[in-house]
């Protein structure tokens, strides 16, 4: 195993070539979908995919330690953190793809294209030496991990220590940034219960979506007359304006259902039509 | 080594500025007295300089020389010639009066907090300006001079922008806006000039390899420093532009009326009577001495600009409705005379110009400070708000009239001597220029007398009926200045004796001889 990996580090086998072209395509597609997906969750997942591919590439390049760390830290920790935040912010919140800054998209495209071309041209022009491979370097201290450890704790020990400091600072910083000072005493259980009893909502709040054949938290439950009830949706979502309104849809469905059943039962169509028109009007009003 | 008198003369007001600034907030009067004492001390030192200076001796006397920035050959070189002595004396003389006249101008208003210390700042800044101006008259190193030339803008900026004339028509915000406009305009104009001068200073160093005035002048004189004609012209223009802004010469003058109008009267006096003199002084010392050929090359244009300044400034003064702006335009006219005298390149013209700098300083100080007393009483700068003051405050009117008569160069008062010398000097070299400049004396009479007539004579206006006459402090400002005007008008010899040798040196620098009288030339 060691030998084959060492060989892979110094030269490119056909297998590696195949792997590169296959996974490279995946990585690029992942990157592009990170950029182009409307929903943040999708972007995050695409990015995670790209990162895993990159981890494989690290391994292929002889950076075993980094490959593993990439999976553990990046895909495992950082991307999960991203997902948490995405959830906090609102998982369904989709970007509108309409550009607001004039000419931004064109400029971005132009710059991106120019930059890419130039970068690739630069690499193409650069007189890159033939690859030495990491065999010797890895073997020096008895393995890739040992080699890295040797460097980290000797040559780069200060940088390493400083990154430690950086991490701690970042942790404290994050706590500070997200921390909210209490402006008043926290309510006790007793107080909360008393408050609840005094309020008009002693029973639990109605569940969202229950009357509307949807059960997502962001869809308001409909009252018997078809109007959505604000109470059924979380306060946070309400404030964000992330409530999806399906009342019109529901009413239309209801109407269709009634029509179908009416046809099948052969009831007076004229009455039904009148009733359905009324319903439709109501539905429109609600939609408005 | 002897006692560094020149450094001491400049350092004393600087120390005074620091001490004054450090006086605690509650001790306003102590700060004022401190500043006054330091300025009087400076006057004593300036008197010593005047006494120790030997008119017949070396060109630069009381010299001091220390290396400063060795890498560029910048030195702390001091030394005074007769022109420097005269202007140094003027500066040291005027500052006590300026301080005394501005005794209450920077008192904090009641709305200010008790920790607010404008008075200390005002007096300290004035002393700071004094220190810098004095040092700039003493510097014989181009770089040192340049630094001072620029540095004095900073305290001046704060003096103009921070301590406005309280007699402003209109709201407080409006006044503040006008003031800051004036201060910024002052700063931008002078900075622009200074920037161009900086380029020229660097250029001079590149060409000459030294910043020392005497070294360069000597090298120029003995031919070891050849300067290509176009190089010299460009360098000259760089220097001259800065000085013309400062002087100020038409058409670079528009900052002066704003600055003088918006600043308190003592600061206005400081601008026109002291700081602007650095510009004309520098023309005489740096432009003519370092670039004699270019100076001669540019003479026709500069003379025309000076003439335009004379006539234009006077005409605009006639058209002003604001007392302080009127005096500012009058000063522009007078600076035209000074430049005319300098660039006429005759002994009479240059002696006259130097004398003019001194006399103009005194006469403008007298007129402007008394005008300031008047303005403070009524709280307005508009001429139309006055009338009949003569009846209620005869001493004020009398001193104002004498200041005005000095401004219009009445024979018997000091400015006449200098103005006539300038005219004669200009006339003997360029007759037409002399004749056109003479028209300026009629216009001067016009603007002064119109001002006097509209403010002081006629029926007593209701708004001035209760106006008190000059108080003791104000008399202490006005009377010595008037006495000096009369003394120097009758007996200018002490000044001319000091100035004459220096002028002869300058004439040698530009290699010009006075035109011979026709009769003697014929013989």
């Amino acid at each position: 195993m060691n030998a084959s990996l060492a060989a892979a580090a110094s030269a490119t086998s056909t297998g590696e070539a195949v792997q590169f072209w296959l996974l490279g395509t995946v990585a690029v597609i992942g990157a592009l979908s990170t950029v182009l997906m409307k929903k943040a969750v999708h972007s995050a997942l695409s990015l995670a995919g790209t990162m895993i591919v990159l981890a494989v590439f690290y391994l292929a390049n002889g950076a075993y330690f980094l490959g593993i760390v990439q999976i553990v830290v990046y895909t495992g920790a950082i991307m999960m953190l991203f997902l948490f935040v995405v959830m906090l912010v609102g998982v369904t919140a989709a970007d509108s793809l309409k550009e607001t800054i004039k000419g931004q998209r064109w400029l971005a495209a132009g710059c991106g294209l120019g930059f890419g071309v130039l970068l690739i041209a630069g690499i193409g022009q650069a007189s890159l030496r033939s690859y030495n491979g990491l065999g010797a370097a890895n073997a020096l201290h008895g393995g890739n991990v040992e080699g890295l450890a040797n460097l980290i704790f000797t040559k780069y020990v200060f940088a390493f220590e400083i990154t430690g400091a950086l991490l701690i600072t970042a942790t404290v910083g994050a706590m500070l940034l997200t921390h909210r000072e209490r402006t008043e005493r926290a309510k006790t259980q007793r107080e909360l219960s008393q408050e609840r009893v005094r309020s008009s909502h002693l029973p639990p709040l109605p569940a969202p979506g229950v009357y509307a054949r949807h059960n997502a938290v962001d869809i308001a439950g409909l009252l018997p007359d078809g109007t959505p009830s604000e109470l059924t949706v979380m306060q946070t979502l309400r404030r964000r304006g992330q409530i999806r309104d399906v009342s019109g849809e529901a009413l239309a469905d209801l109407k269709a259902l009634e029509q179908r059943s009416g046809e099948r039962l052969g009831r007076g169509l004229a009455d039904r039509a009148e009733a359905s028109e009324e319903h439709a009007e109501e539905g429109e009003e609600v939609a408005k | 080594m002897s006692f560094p008198l020149l450094t001491a003369t400049a350092a004393l007001p600087a120390v005074g500025a620091i001490v004054t600034a450090a006086v605690p907030a509650g001790r306003r009067t102590a700060a004022k007295w401190t500043a006054l004492l330091f300025s009087l001390g400076t006057l004593v030192l300036a008197g010593l300089v005047f006494a120790r200076f030997e008119p017949g001796g070396d060109r630069y006397q009381l010299t001091e020389s220390h290396p400063w920035i060795a890498d560029f050959g910048v030195r702390y070189d001091l030394g005074v010639d007769g022109i420097g002595v005269a202007l140094l004396g003027l500066t040291a003389l005027l500052i006590p009066f300026v301080l005394l006249a501005g005794w209450h101008d920077a008192d904090p208003l009641e709305t200010h907090s008790s920790r607010w210390r404008p008075t200390q700042g005002f007096f300290a800044l004035i002393l700071m300006v004094e220190a810098m101006v004095i040092l700039s008259f003493e510097a014989t190193d181009v770089f040192l001079f340049y630094i001072l030339f620029e540095a004095m803008l900073i305290p001046m900026y704060f003096l103009i922008g921070g301590f406005g004339d309280r007699a402003h028509a209109g709201s407080e915000e409006n006044a503040a806006a006008q003031r800051s406009y004036a201060a910024v305009k002052f700063l931008l104009y002078n900075l622009a000039g200074g920037l161009i001068m900086l380029a020229a200073v660097i250029g001079l160093y590149v060409v000459a390899g030294s910043f020392s005035l005497s070294e360069i002048a000597e090298a120029r004189a003995n031919g070891s420093l050849e300067m290509a004609g176009s190089t010299e012209k460009w360098l000259f223009l760089g220097f001259f532009f800065a000085f013309a802004v400062k002087a100020p010469l038409w058409p670079l003058h528009t900052w002066l009326p704003n600055a003088m109008g918006e600043a308190t009267t003592p600061v206005a006096v400081l601008i026109t009577a002291v700081v602007d003199k650095v510009g004309t002084f520098a023309m005489l010392r740096y432009c003519l001495q370092l670039f004699p050929e270019a100076s001669k090359w540019a003479t026709p244009v500069i003379l025309v600009l000076a003439l335009v300044s004379i006539i234009y400034g006077a005409l605009l003064a006639v058209g002003q409705r604001d007392i302080k702006r009127l005096i500012a335009y009058a000063s522009i006219s007078h600076f035209g005379f000074i430049v005319l005298g300098i660039f006429a390149m005759t002994s009479q013209g240059q002696s006259g110009a130097t004398l003019y700098m001194v006399n103009h300083g005194i006469s403008t100080a007298a007129l402007m400070l008394v005008a300031g007393f008047l303005i403070t009483r009524r709280g307005s700068r508009l001429i139309a708000d006055y009338g009949g003051v003569q009846k209620v405050a005869p001493v004020l009117a009398g001193t104002f009239l004498i200041g005005g008569l000095a401004t219009l160069s009445l024979p018997g008062l000091a400015p006449f001597v200098s103005e006539f010398l300038v005219l004669v000097g200009a006339f003997s070299a360029y007759p037409v220029v002399g004749i056109v400049a003479t028209v300026g004396i009629v216009l001067a009479a016009l603007y002064v007398l119109v001002l006097y007539q509209r403010t002081m004579t006629g029926p007593v206006r209701e708004s001035v009926r209760a106006m008190p006459d000059l108080r003791v402090r104000e008399l202490a400002v006005a009377l010595p200045l008037i006495a000096l005007l009369i003394f120097l008008g009758v007996f200018p010899k002490p000044v001319t004796d000091v100035v004459n040798p220096a002028v002869q040196h300058t004439m040698q620098d530009v290699q010009k001889k006075d035109p011979q009288p026709e009769v003697e030339a014929a013989k």
Binding site: A31, T34, A137 | -
Partner: protein
């Protein structure tokens, strides 16, 4: 295959990431794009490490990861607190950096 291709891939990913930063308005996605750029750099570093035959490049990539982790922590915290105050994660909403 020439291992240089890894570099081309890194350049491509970097460019895509950069363009994403420019185009997207959702702060989280922008942040992800930044991560993508960092990863592209890491790939290049690892590839260089292989090219030169020593481990310094990998060390640098390692540090990049550490720093990126720290950055993500702080950055996401900023996004969250921004979101709290503005109820939005759009970078365009915070356009106060002008006169």
């Amino acid at each position: 295959m020439n291992p240089v291709n890894y570099l081309y891939l890194a350049a491509l990913l970097f460019t895509i990431g950069a363009s994403g930063v420019l185009i997207r308005r959702n702060a989280i996605v922008v942040f992800m794009c930044i991560e993508l750029m960092l990863n592209a750099c890491n790939l290049a570093l690892v590839s260089f490490s292989r090219m030169h035959g020593n481990l310094d490049g990998q060390i640098l990539a390692f540090f990049t990861m550490v720093v990126a982790a720290a950055e993500v922590v702080v950055g996401l915290a900023i996004i969250v607190s921004l979101f709290r105050s503005r109820h939005s994660a759009s970078v365009d909403d915070a356009s106060l950096m002008k006169l």
